[in-house]
């Protein structure tokens, strides 16, 4: 597959001109074909075995491994589909149209329906067209948002009485949002690139709390958490979306305040949610620089909290496929994930080991059992933990 010949690879840089890069890529492919040479496409390998963790950088970065695709009789269908799709995406960029992956699937089907020459390309289901979009982003080493492909908004609902967000629009307009004036409504970042300037309305904010459960975040706010504390409170809604990750980074970089993550004590939360928020993911190695907030700290639930607050916890059932898989993945992570192998993160690594050894789990909502008659008890514990420095 791989030869010493120069491959068609485009490096990520600032102010990339995607149409120009795409045309250069296609030009190179065409020139290779004219010379009866096999065009070869190269992309960074985005998987854990090519992930590097440098504690000074703070997030997972790509190693040297590349994935190479060469044109041959087996890949001609895949490449034809990719270039066909690229043409649709370039048209969108030219007109400013945006789409999500589902819409693109139907656009591609429509093109194939109305042009009989394209019929062989037709897509049987969305997974086929999604993989083509992913292949194009890997080939061009760009974000799908740079191709005007946007995912649905999920997570990142943010509350604060002392935060002003200024959004800089593409047409040089500015939108200023005072989160303290939104009443019970949250501010939510979009799942596409946005340009923000953040500042405190008065003085300096004390901290930002990211809560794993959107429901618990809402409860804390309803009970007055943001009224009593000079802070930002954000709901992650499970595994953080690109919007949540990028928004956390913006808060970290611009406001330079401590960010704490509050979630369940289980392997899935630590490995999939907390690690992604703090250091990015293996699947997005080329994007982690923009989509991770390395200063985030793990506030809990911690193993010692179970004893200290006498919290109800549960035995992980090895017969439950999902729980068993989660433990197995945690064991693999300890062996292979550079984030957990680095001594800088020995605190969370220790917790992961504790979870594997003790096979127990405790949910974030367990703080509500400490004093069932006091709805503010979870808030009191969280603030107490921050003050005492009981986080990782």
């Amino acid at each position: 597959m791989a030869t010493s010949r120069k491959s068609t690879s485009i490096k990520i840089g600032n102010n990339r001109d995607i149409p120009k890069l795409s045309k250069a890529l296609c030009e190179r492919m065409l020139a290779d074909l004219e010379k009866a040479r096999r065009p070869m496409l190269e992309a960074t390998k985005c998987s854990l075995d090519n992930a590097v963790y440098n504690p000074k950088v703070g997030f997972l970065t790509p190693g040297d491994k590349k994935v190479r695709s060469e044109l041959n009789v087996s890949s001609v269908q895949k490449l034809s589909r990719a270039i066909f799709f690229l043409e649709i995406l370039l048209r969108n960029l030219e007109t400013g149209a945006v789409n999500n992956k589902r819409e693109l699937y139907y656009i591609a089907k429509g093109e194939c329906k109305h042009n009989k020459d394209l019929k062989p390309l037709d897509f049987a289901d969305q997974s086929e067209s999604d993989s083509v979009v992913d292949f194009i982003t890997e080939m061009l080493e760009c974000y799908r948002e740079e191709l005007n492909v946007f995912a649905n908004d999920r997570g990142g609902q943010t509350y604060s009485k002392n935060l002003i967000v200024t959004e800089h629009m593409a047409d040089n307009e500015k939108a200023v949002v005072d989160l303290g004036s939104l009443g019970t409504s949250p501010f939510q970042p979009k799942n596409k690139p946005q340009s923000f300037t953040l500042k405190a309305k008065k003085g300096k904010l004390d901290f930002c709390l990211v809560v794993e459960s959107e429901g618990t975040a809402n409860t804390l706010v309803s009970n007055g958490f943001t009224k009593r504390n000079n802070c930002i409170l954000m709901g992650a809604q499970g595994v953080p979306s690109n919007a949540v990750r990028s928004w956390a980074k913006t808060i970290q970089d611009q406001l330079k305040i401590p960010i704490y993550f509050f979630g369940d004590l289980d392997a899935y939360t630590i490995q999939n949610i907390y690690r992604t928020l703090k250091a990015g993911s293996a699947a997005s190695l080329i994007r982690n620089a923009d989509f991770s907030a390395p200063e985030v700290r793990f506030l809990g639930v911690l193993p010692e909290d179970i004893k200290k607050y006498d919290l109800a916890d549960y035995v992980v059932n090895p017969k439950d496929a999902a729980e068993f898989r989660s433990l197995k993945k945690a064991q693999d992570a300890l062996k292979n994930d550079p984030f957990f192998k680095d001594k800088k993160n020995k605190g969370v690594t220790h917790v992961l080991n504790w979870l594997i050894k003790n096979k127990r789990r405790c949910e974030q909502q367990a703080f509500f059992m400490v004093d069932p008659k006091d709805p503010l008890m979870p808030e009191k514990i969280i603030i107490d933990k921050i003050k005492r420095g009981e986080f990782l």
Binding site: K23, L30, N72, L86, L118
Partner: protein, 527 residues
Amino acid sequence: MGFSSGTKAVLTTLKEAVDNSLDACEDAGILPNISIEINKIGPGTMKNMDTIQVKVIDNGPGIAPDDIIRVYGEYLASSKFGRGRCSRGQQGIGISAATTWGQLTSAKGVNVISKTLKMKKAISGTIEVDIKKNQGNFKNKETIQWDRPHGTSVEFFFDGRLQLQGEGGVLTYLKGTSLVNPHLELKYKINEDEEVFFERLSTEKIKIPEAVPPHPHTLKLGEFLAHAHLFGQSTVATFLKRGFSRISDNTIKLLEKSGMPKGIANRSLPKTSDSDLKKVYSAIQKTELLAPNTRSVLSIGEAALAKSIERLGEIDFFSVVSRKPRICDAKPVVVEVAIARFVSNKGDNDDPVTVLRFANRVPLQFDKASCAIAKAIESVNWKAYGLQQPKRSLPLGPYIIAVSVVSPFIKFKNASKETIDSSDELVEELRLTLMQAGQRLSRYIKKEQRAADLERKLQHIEQFGPILIQCLGRITSAPKARLEKANIGLTKLLGRDTDAAESKLQDAVDKHQKLQERIKIRRGAKD
């Protein structure tokens, strides 16, 4: 036994009559011609049953007049039990049971016509069973002119249900019988359908190997004692040497070392107590004996199977394996396997394969799940040979897997003899044979896969090449001349890939042809 449902009643009656005909022909060295007629002639006497007529005529040696009553009207009259031969019938129960069933349900015995070569005229009449006395009654006995030098005709009327297709179907039985009996010329007519004729494919007469006494390690204690009680006047030593295989004077000395009381060998067998015989039995079990002789086992042979498999329907390829006799559980066994794919239902890839099971060349059609043959088929990884297979199940596809087990001592799970007991050794021998057949099958499948691969690659080039060039042209705004040049370049590039695929296909075709030639040579040698 075999009459627990209407479907089984039809099949058992037919099987018993055909088994008797085939065994008789083979014993007399005659190439069998069998003609079968099955008719649904009206409602039965029992609820949800029909009256069925089954008539089987053969060209066998015929039955002497004195023996006719015993064969059809008495139980255990011709018992071959423990004889150590690979014959179909073993206990002499089946055909008398069919007569009894006819009598019970339609008040009619079996109509018999029989003629031996020595008889000038054939004898005809109706045999009924007197169950209380275990003896037959010959009614309407008369001599008649018959159009053949020798043979037997039997005709039963009884309550049953006629099922043609499926595992318990009459047609499945007839096809199975024709598969494992290539020397059989078979005609059958069912109801108003046209008569079907299977030409004889092999003129080689079946040589049934001589009977051998049982190997002592194959008997349970009860069977050993029963064998001793029936053996008659002799010494214990003579009983052991003549009543069993692989026991000699030297073996008897070894038995004494293993705990057989000294002096018992020369004692009179009838005067020896059961407790002493138990000691003899126990010593035999502790003593290592030579494995049984495998010469007593009969095989159908690869060449014969390769011919007769085409009787099952139009097939586009097959593979057959006939293993040498092996010892399983101290019994000689021959396992043979034929796998074929039908042309007519080539698209049926989601249904399990059709399994045909045979024990001593008799099709087994009920209780498949717990049979050693089914277990062995399920335990093989058929995916390795190119077939689809859900986990621990039969493989899928329009294939037929026919497995024959031949042995003078087949151990069945139940009295109806439909399920072969699945001992570890037998299942392993079956597995090995199936895997060998699977390896041969995979050569055919590989050839097909290579051809499909080449076809797919050619299609890909034709379909996707122009689209790729056109899309690249539109994005780069390249002139037509560049696109034409790129098109030529692409064709050259992908042509190299198809050349490689063609070469692989040729390789597979060559290997396939070599295999075909080997089969032809084997067939030719047998012809």
